[in-house]
Symmetry: C2
Subunit: 436 residues, 2 copies
């Protein structure tokens, strides 16, 4: 019976890793999760498929074009495109069962049918945390998020990274003071500064009808640089008489003060007045994080404060602050830039190789090692010893234990360190001691 062979392949825009890369990816996920839990965040998991009317309650825009949407029976459903909308739905739906401030983390896959391009994925892991208040949420929470960002990236092995901080309320107030009432488009223009440069941003502001003297003042404002305290001082010195500006600046000073108390080293955070984040969703503090030595990777983690998480699902006012790491893209970028490299090819500490008639002893041995919590496996196929050593080598298994005639007679184990080539004939107790 001959079968038709279908070429095994996956869809473009989806990441699939070798086990070696997967081990590293999972370690990074574990590190992130452990940090989220250490900071007192609770896990949730929501369905990947939701009702389209729920996911798109906010409606339209770019999102709607990218969404994977389909019908099954008469039900219109879609795959989630982020973890924020599901959080909003979750909090509104389970409101009475939750304790506020509700601190939740969520690590899961989300889906966007984006145009296919290098480093962009249609399925990717988001690792989100949010602190959601019931009606109100203290501003100091905004200082705890950078502390978690710092702790997480430090544990991921990074040292030179900067958490950039700004406050959209302050920006809004600043533009209010220039009589620019709807600052949305102005902020969008400034958001492109990194990519297109000041000259182009200026042109865009002109085309938005911003008067020349206001463009000049905007440039001066965006040029405020220095230490965090210098910047705060300079902003205060502007003496801008706008309530929103004052509130935003007050928030920013508080956040900067408490970030320090939360233990983030000064070199790892700084105010960046040009960083506004694209999403209109944010209403106060905003964050982005860059790797100092690889600024071209862009932001590796972003977030901020929002006024009302779930306005499309409930009348409860639920302000919050949070951040997200897009691990799939980050992993891809770090690997491409050779900043990370997967070296562990297996999780196994020892491979047991029983010679022909000593399989039974081999099985007992692997069982004993596992009982001691040692990650171990046994090679059960027939084959030349060279081929089996090759298997251990290819999987980078650090130790091999050979059990043959001699070992069986003396009740010993031949333990070989695959890196040094050193070989010892020792008792099981000694093997266990050595592997632990």
């Amino acid at each position: 019976m001959s079968k038709d062979i279908v070429k095994p392949s996956i869809l473009p825009g989806f990441m699939e890793l070798t086990p070696t890369d997967q081990i590293l990816f999972n370690k990074m996920l574990d590190t992130i999760r452990q940090n989220y839990e250490k900071f007192g965040f609770l896990p949730i998991d929501t369905p990947v498929i939701e009702k389209t009317e729920v996911l798109l309650a906010k409606g339209g825009g770019e999102t709607e074009k990218q969404i994977y949407r389909f019908e099954k029976g008469s039900t219109d459903m879609s795959l989630r495109f982020d973890l924020t909308v599901p959080l909003a739905r979750y909090v509104a739906q389970h409101y009475s069962e939750l304790s506020f401030p509700f601190r939740r983390y969520h690590i899961g896959k989300v889906y966007r049918g984006e145009r296919n391009q290098k480093g962009r994925f249609r399925e990717f892991y988001q690792c989100d945390i949010d602190i959601v208040g019931n009606g109100i949420l203290d501003i100091i929470n905004d200082a705890e998020i950078p502390s978690l960002i710092y702790s997480t990236f430090r544990d991921l092995g990074f040292d030179s990274f900067t958490i950039k901080i700004n406050n959209r309320k302050m920006l809004k107030g600043f533009f209010n003071s220039l009589d620019i009432e709807d600052s949305t488009f102005v902020l969008r223009a400034i958001d492109k500064l990194d990519k297109i440069g000041m000259a182009e941003v200026e042109k865009e502001l002109e085309s938005l009808g911003i008067a020349n003297h206001n463009i000049r003042r905007t440039k001066e404002f965006l040029n405020i640089k220095g230490s965090n305290n210098d910047i705060i001082g300079n902003l205060e010195a502007l003496k801008i008489d706008d309530e929103t500006f004052k509130e935003g600046l007050e928030e920013l000073s508080t956040v900067i003060k408490y970030i320090d108390l939360f233990g983030v080293p000064e070199k790892n955070y700084r105010i960046d007045l040009t960083m506004v984040r694209g999403l209109d969703y944010y209403t106060g503090t905003v964050y982005e994080t860059i790797l100092d030595d690889y600024p071209s990777l862009g932001s590796i983690c972003g977030g901020g404060r929002y006024e009302n998480l779930a306005e499309y699902y409930t009348k409860q006012k639920l302000p919050g602050v949070g951040m997200s790491i897009g691990l799939t893209r980050l992993f891809y970028q770090l690997r491409e830039a050779k900043i990370i490299e997967a070296t562990e090819k297996s999780l196994t500490k020892a491979l047991i190789i029983p010679m022909d008639s000593f399989v039974e002893k081999g099985v007992e041995t692997v069982n004993e090692l596992r009982g001691e919590g040692i990650y171990a496996q046994i090679y059960l196929e027939s084959g030349k010893i060279g081929k089996i050593f090759n298997y251990a080598d290819k999987l980078n298994i650090p130790y091999v234990i050979v059990i043959g005639q001699e070992e069986a007679e003396n009740n010993t184990y031949s333990l070989r360190d695959m890196k040094t080539g050193e070989q010892k004939n020792i008792s099981l107790e000694e093997v266990i001691k050595c592997l632990k």
Copy 2:
């Protein structure tokens, strides 16, 4: 600006847990993963969305009706409905990069648009392991899988469970010896024995045209009971002269012998000749696992040996053996039957409550505790102390640390054990010692 409120809800047939249940669910997932890794299995992760032609290469049947299938642009895509088809595709696609025997585990969500009924889910976690050989795979591998099942369920907190073992090759040989050449339908009838009873199975065998004396012999065969060794002895005593039967029986004896060597206690496994598993896919050893005190839950973990994993994607012959735990359904059943109960409402060990003007000291303290690896959080909202204690109570946080005037002056911390109500005024070092 008033907004339209969309009722927050999820689709029927999807499981969504409270954080308390999620903590327990995640612990179970972690336990499973840890066991899989301890036994030397490598992690993989595949896209949830795949090309329909790839997922349905085997074609049709019940699966096709249940699949979530849709088009995006001109691409026909579907959500995976198990982790076995993606494994087959993965091994065929990455064949040259893998070391065989390829031991992989995969924990992820799969999707089936099944008829909506209690305890059935349209999105559920599968936790799979498989050992895939290149051309050949030793039968002793079939004895390692029960050892992993045993270790996993023991670590999940179970004691009274039985891994039922059978061999489809032996069954096939048995029916061959009765001149029943295509045993597929006979096996399907026997598969229903648990549900419909022997009388009904007999009727079904009759309607399949099986002769009366053969039905009698089938009944006698299925009635063979006793210790594992008794059953093996009785099967040998049948002296059935069929090569397939002999091969299957030989395999079964080997598996039974090595399960013991792999350390599975005798009470936790037994040969069950009536257990055939529905899937035609299996060609040798088959497993199911039941909780002795809750047989009505059915099989909580199943698997077996197959001859050729990836015949639809490659000409390489890839035999394998594996098993799967459907955790979403299992969790639901265990919870409904009150076999498990979620009690941990938070992962936080200590909640820091700073009085009015001692927030700074509180922030420094939470930072110190986290630095020591202690899961801690700080309460930053204003509110009466009673309300804050209530928050700690509702989240079952075991310790509360109050920092007020007195504590600040003496540089001490008021540590309260929320269970006993005991309160101590101690130094930070003592707090850390106590919480570690």
